[in-house]
Subunit: 232 residues, 2 copies
DNA sequence: CTATAAACATGATAAAAGTCATATTTTAAG
DNA sequence: CTTAAAATATGACTTTTATCATGTTTATAG
């Protein structure tokens, strides 16, 4: 990770996507003074599970995966985070070490915000606290839904859902390929299956003309069918 | 559900287990004036997924299951809630309809607290907001861990873990049987498997002398082995 | 550009889990 | 107490998914 300092939070449009929008001008100024920007290259770690975090990370651009090592030695990706998402909030608030690791999926810029600015504002500005709460409530709902999917849907359905989610969250390029390009192994780690199983399903989807691929890039070509398959 | 009113929140020891502990005397008084106590019999619904909630439910005693219907028609139990847990918080805060249903696992008493008391306090008392946040952060961590278990562990491991969790959270009676007695189907719905598969694993656990049963009641007789199996 | 590793792909097989059928036991209603 | 319904149990079989082996393609370092 490389440090630098260039943009002021007050001018930063990205904060509209997260709870920082509820901070006052003065609070934001303090945060901005204390923050630092870091460049994280693809595959580099932003923080590791078990680590004590001294602040939160706001993603300026790029995508990070939040994952945890299971006792069977496999990594499970719990969530993909992108522009505007705050990482490490949960750990800072509950004053526990990080439950998940955050690793850059592609080259990424993050702002590191020391926890003091966050905690002080939390304890004095109810608007901010409620806004953080709203985001956490949303995350919790999403997590509950992932539990349902993991336990009740087949690997094929989960991969279909993952593709629809990725397309919806990260968009497509001019040729229709999804902007986010994950390895087969990463996709397997999102849906919680073996890499080979994941590859097999992708091959099947290609054969059935639900998707097409070009290297790591994937394009959905029959969204309706993929959606039907997902819902079964 | 039957309504009544008898106990004051100010005198209620249960609030020490949840975010209401961070309310001031006056705030608590208001909540207490507006709350109502309801008795919910085993199997009765406290609220259903999709319902708009006008407040939160604080469990006085008994156990409730929080579940959601999957598109394949099966119920997935996401969480068991017991004395002191607040239900419906997430929906009230994010002003969305309930994502989960809450159903009494045994005869239960809950206090219904209209959302106004909660939201007003949230918007004016940062201590309370932070306390709610802390609880939600904890729930989120738990949910993430459930995702890992669901995707990476076998049915046998998940059932072993469920038993250890149940014993730890709800305790045992004088004969060593767990105080909470779930049906095989409910256990299956917690670990996300077919009822028959769940029954088979329980039979195997009995044969291997890891547990013993008496009707619905289950007692762990070899915790160490169960724990080893869970971690694999 | 070439060597080497990593990622992708696919077959063969095994293991895990689901489904369907059918008893047996337990529980609850009358 | 009896009877019907629900829950538990188990066998037989199918489907899904994991694992291991091996080949092919694609990326990357030098």
């Amino acid at each position: 990770m490389v440090d630098e300092a260039e943009v002021r939070c007050e001018q930063c449009a990205i904060r509209q996507f997260n709870a920082l929008r509820a901070m006052s001008k003065e609070e934001l100024k303090k945060v901005s003074d204390s923050k630092s920007i870091k460049r994280v290259k693809k595959g580099e770690t932003i923080f590791k599970e078990g680590e004590k975090l001294n602040g939160v990370f706001c993603i300026r651009n790029g995508v990070a995966k939040l994952s945890k090592l299971s006792s069977n030695g496999k990594d499970q990706i719990v969530k993909l985070a992108t522009k505007g998402n705050l990482l490490g909030q949960r750990s800072v608030i509950s004053e526990e070490s990080a439950n998940l690791s955050a690793i850059a999926v592609n080259d990424t810029q993050v702002c590191f915000i020391p926890k003091e600015g966050i905690m002080n504002t939390l304890n004095t500005n109810p608007n901010f606290a409620v806004e953080v709460l709203r985001h956490m409530a949303h995350d919790l709902k999403e997590a509950d839904d992932v539990i349902i999917n993991m336990s009740q849907k087949s690997v094929k359905q989960r991969i279909a859902e993952a593709f629809l989610y990725m397309q919806n969250s990260f968009g497509v390029d001019h040729e229709g390929f999804m902007s986010i390009a994950l390895s087969r192994e990463e996709i397997a780690n999102i849906v919680g299956t073996a890499t080979e199983s994941c590859i097999r399903v992708i091959s099947e989807f290609k054969k059935d003309k639900l998707i097409k691929t070009s290297g790591k890039k994937i394009a959905i070509i029959n969204e309706a069918a993929l959606r039907a398959l997902m819902e079964k």
